[in-house]
Symmetry: C2
Subunit: 344 residues, 2 copies
C-alpha cells in the first residue's frame, strides 16, 4: 500500500489522467489538465469546471461566515472559467450537511450563493442536498462559454511572452494569518472581542470574500487582447507559473520587486515576520489570473493599473527563476501536498 502523501496532489492527478480513456465524442476538445474542460458547441467553446470544498480543509467555520463561504464557493468555479478567457453561464451547487447545521445556516449559505450568482451574472440551475457524517461539504460546477477565437489554455505560451498578473498578491494569505490569530485569542478567552482594525479590512476581505476576475476577461476583450496562455492562481502563483511553463515547454524569469503587493500586505507581513514575496508566491487563495501576452500586445496593457508585468518567458524549460533586485536568481518552487493539507 502506498501513502497518498508520497505521490502528492500533482502526482495523483497525473496518475489519474494517464489512465483516462481517450474521449469518444468529437465535441470533447480538451479534458483534464486545464482550469476547465472544453467542448465544441458550434460558434463557441463550452467550458465546465468542478471543485469541492471541505470543512476543516478549505475553510474554518470558526471565522468564516456562511454567507461569505457561499459567495466564495461560486467564486472558486467562476475563476476557473475566467482563466479560460470565458464567462460563466450556469452553476450547480451540491451541499452535504451534518445535523449540527440548522435551517438558518442553510439560508445564510444560499444568501451568499445568490449574491455571487447576481455579481457574476450566472444562473443557479441545480444541485444536490444531502446529509454528511461530519461537517459541511460544498461541490460547485460551473458551465461557461468562450468564443472559439478567444480561448486560452495553459500550454500555448511562447518564449519572450510577458508574464502578467491581475490585482495584487499575498493579501488573502495575510488575511488568513490575522483570522487564525484572532481565533487563537478567542479560544484562549472566549470573552475577548476580535481586534480586526479597519486597516486590516482589505486583507480579511481578500480571504473571506474574494471576487473572481470576470472583469478582466471583459477588459482584455475590450482591448482586443487574447492572452497566449492563462491560469487561475488561487492555488498560489509559484505552482501555477510552474504549470504554465511545464505545459508550454518554456522557462521563466520573474522579478520579486515587480510582484504586486498591497501596502497592507507589507505591513501585516512585517508583523507576522513573513516574507511578503513568499506570501505572494506561495500564499494562495488570491483569485487572480496569471497570463502571458506577446511583447507587442503588452504595450496596450502597460498603463493598466489592474495588470502588472512580473517577468517574461524564456526558451529553457529547466530555468524557472525568481530574480531579486540584487540580481540573484533562485528557482521557483511550488508548495507540496503536505503543506497545502496543513495550510488549507
Amino acid at each position: 500500500m502506498t501513502d497518498l502523501n508520497t505521490l502528492g496532489e500533482i502526482g495523483l492527478i497525473e496518475r489519474i489522467r494517464q489512465e483516462i480513456p481517450t474521449p469518444t465524442h468529437s465535441e470533447t476538445i480538451h479534458g483534464i489538465g486545464d482550469d476547465a474542460a472544453v467542448f465544441d458547441w458550434g460558434d463557441d467553446y463550452g467550458l465546465l469546471t468542478t471543485d469541492m470544498l471541505v470543512e476543516g480543509i478549505h475553510f474554518d467555520l470558526t471565522y468564516v461566515p456562511l454567507k461569505h463561504l457561499g459567495y466564495k464557493a461560486v467564486t472558486f468555479g467562476v475563476s476557473d472559467i475566467a482563466a479560460m478567457n470565458g464567462l460563466p453561464i450556469q452553476v450547480t451547487i451540491s451541499v452535504g450537511l451534518s445535523s449540527r447545521f440548522p435551517v438558518e445556516a442553510v439560508d445564510e449559505l444560499y444568501e451568499g450563493i445568490r449574491a455571487a450568482c447576481v455579481a457574476y451574472n450566472v444562473d443557479l440551475v441545480g444541485g444536490d442536498t444531502t446529509s454528511s457524517r461530519s461537517g459541511l461539504i460544498i461541490s460547485v460546477s460551473v458551465l461557461g462559454k468562450v468564443p472559439k477565437d478567444l480561448i486560452t489554455y495553459r500550454h500555448t505560451a511562447q518564449p519572450n511572452d510577458v508574464i502578467c498578473v491581475t490585482g495584487d498578491l499575498g493579501a488573502a494569505y495575510l488575511g488568513l494569518q490575522l483570522l487564525e490569530r484572532e481565533k487563537q485569542v478567542f479560544l484562549a478567552d472566549p470573552n475577548m472581542q476580535p481586534n480586526l482594525s479597519e486597516e486590516r479590512a482589505y486583507l480579511v476581505q481578500r480571504q473571506l470574500r474574494p471576487d473572481a476576475r470576470t472583469d478582466m476577461v471583459h477588459e482584455l476583450r475590450d482591448l482586443g487582447i487574447r492572452p497566449t496562455a492563462m491560469i487561475d492562481i488561487s492555488d498560489g502563483l509559484a505552482s501555477e507559473l510552474l504549470h504554465l511553463c511545464h505545459q508550454s515547454g518554456t522557462g521563466a524569469v520573474i522579478f520579486d520587486e515587480n510582484l504586486p503587493i498591497d501596502d497592507q500586505t507589507h505591513l501585516a507581513a512585517d508583523e507576522f515576520k513573513i516574507s511578503p514575496v513568499t506570501a505572494a508566491l506561495n500564499g494562495g487563495e488570491d483569485y487572480e489570473l496569471l497570463f502571458t501576452v506577446r511583447p507587442q500586445a503588452f504595450e496596450k496593457l502597460e498603463t493598466n493599473a489592474r495588470i502588472t508585468a512580473i517577468g517574461y518567458l524564456t526558451p529553457d524549460p529547466t530555468q524557472i527563476v525568481l530574480s531579486t533586485k540584487a540580481g540573484q536568481q533562485t528557482p521557483v518552487r511550488a508548495q507540496g501536498w503536505e503543506n497545502l493539507m496543513q495550510k488549507k
Copy 2:
C-alpha cells in the same frame, strides 16, 4: 434555530428553490425541480446534473468495493440524464479523501469510474481531488443532450396516461439487507467467511453495481415513443411517483400485483420478513425509470419484457393510491428524510 429534520429534504429544496433568482440567460430553459437542468443549445437541449455521495450516508466501505462505488457514482448522474430522455456525453468527478486511503484505493475507485465511462459512452473530462477530514466524498456532474422534440420533464403527464417502470424493483434494497447481515456476522466474528450464495448474486449486484437505463432511452427512441413524463426512481418508486403527480397535477392508481419484482427479491423478502411491495415502493436504489405514455402509445410497449405497466394517472391530484388485488386502496406515501438518513 430550526432543526433541519423538521423541514425535511423536500422542504429544504423547496425553500432553496423559492429564493433562487430568475435565470437571466435566455438559454437556461429549466433549472431546479427536475432530474437535470435544461439549456437551449440550438438543435438540442443540453442537460446538466450533479450529485454528491458521502461515506457513511450513501455507502458503507465495509462491503462496497471501491471499484463498484466508482461505477455507481457515474450511474447516479447518468440515470438523471436518462430520466430527461437524454444521453450522457461528459462527466466530471471530484473526490475528497481522508489520509486513511492509500494510492491503490484511488486506483480502484477510478477503475470503476473508467468502466462506467466506457459502458455509458461518456467522456471523463475533469474533476477535483482534495483531502477530507473524515472519509470519502464523491461529487459527480454529468452533461448530456436530448433532441428538443424528445425531452421529457416531470410536470407534463396527463390523466389516463399509462404509468410504466423499467426493469424490476426492490432488489437493490434486499441486496442491502443481505450485505448488512453479512457485515454484522463479520463484525461478530472476523474469521467468518461471507455467505452470499450464487442465487443471491442478482440482489447484491443490483445494490453494488447498478446500471443506468440509457438502453431504455435508445429503445424508446427506436420505437418512436416519447414519454409524456419521466423520472429516475433511485430515491424510491413511491416518492418519485408523488413528485411526478404533484408536478403534473394528476392523481394515480397503481396496482400492487403489477409491480415488477424478481423471484430472488420475493425469496429474500420472505426471509427478512419484509413486504416485497414495500421494498419495491420505498426500498430505493433501483436505478430504473418511471415514465408515463398516452394509452395509444402503450400498445407498442405491451409486449416489451423490460417495461411494465403498473397503473394509470387520474384527474384528481389528491388521490395517489396503491390498489391491492382485493380492491383495497391505500394512499402512496414517501419515506421521510429521517428514514432516508438512517437507511442510506
